[in-house]
């Protein structure tokens, strides 16, 4: 067992353990903090896969942006007196059964699929290549993405502001 396998299992343990916390924690605040562990684990997995730039993007956007936004929303809407704010609609047992069926089916399909795998080779810096791809091959999606972000931000401001009459 080489060192990369050990690192992978460590990262997978952190990621899946935190994801279990997200899914099963009773308090939504604990869920939000467990989500941080999952996002950090996924960022480290990206680095393990040789995607260093993507790992940093994940760190900046997810951990630095989305998670903070989520925590803000939790703090702004969470009523401390309301303990049962994260009650279950479907119930844990039916949900577990359904998810177990879906997961088993996915693993079965993944196990039976025949994938053409090439030797990935040694990881190399990716920033140069990603920058080139974003400004040549993916220039149009890149610009559309910026418009989508602008529209989303304006929409978020419009939706969440208080209505002022008159």
């Amino acid at each position: 067992m080489s060192i990369t396998v050990v690192v992978f299992y460590l990262l997978a343990a952190v990621t899946v353990g935190s994801a279990l916390g997200v899914a099963f924690a009773n308090s939504i605040v604990y869920s939000a903090f467990a989500l941080m562990g999952t996002l950090l684990g996924v960022a480290a997995t990206f680095v393990l896969l040789g995607a260093d730039f993507l790992g940093v993007v994940q760190l900046l956007v997810y951990v630095g942006g989305i998670l903070v936004l989520t925590l803000f929303a939790v703090m702004l809407t969470h009523r401390i007196s309301d303990v049962n704010v994260s009650n279950r609609a479907v119930g844990r047992l039916p949900g577990l059964v359904l998810v177990a069926v879906v997961f088993g089916w996915m693993v079965r399909v993944a196990g039976r699929a025949h994938w053409v795998v090439k030797d990935p080779g040694a990881p190399a810096p990716t920033t140069y290549g990603i920058g080139n791809a974003l400004l040549t091959q993916y220039a149009l999606p890149f610009e559309v993405a910026s418009i989508v972000l602008l529209a989303a931000l304006i929409g978020a401001v419009v939706v969440s502001r208080k209505e002022v009459k008159g």
Binding site: M1, S2, V5, A12, V16, L20, A23, I28, A32, L35, L39, V42, T45, F46, L49, G50, A51, L54, V57, V61, Y62, G65, I66, L69, T70, A73, V74, L76, T77, V85, S86, R88, A89, G95, L96, V99, V102, F103, M106, V107, A110, W115, V117, K118, P120, P123, T126, I130, A133, L134, A145, V148, L149, A152, L153, G155, A156, V157, V159, K162
Partner: protein, 103 residues
Amino acid sequence: MADLSLGHFVVLGGVLFALGLFCVLTRRNAIGILMGIELVLNSANINYVAFARYNQAGYDGQVFAIFVIMLAAAEAAIGLAIVLGIYQRFETIDVEATDRLRQ
């Protein structure tokens, strides 16, 4: 890297997807549902990057993952704004209690 196969990462992505789906299914808190969606998007990103790496597909998989992260950010901003709006109007973010379009 040689003894770390594609299957490892696919199973990791599958576990994250299943937990995110569970989160979406069983949470009644709207923010919890959004967290589940983030888990699902992360599992998809792991698969994108892993498949791209093990097929020597260049940077396509990573660029797609960047777009997914960007859309997740937009989704989180819009979703949480809607959740805050619902909270202002209904005083709760229980998705079962907010089943009317207007008061």
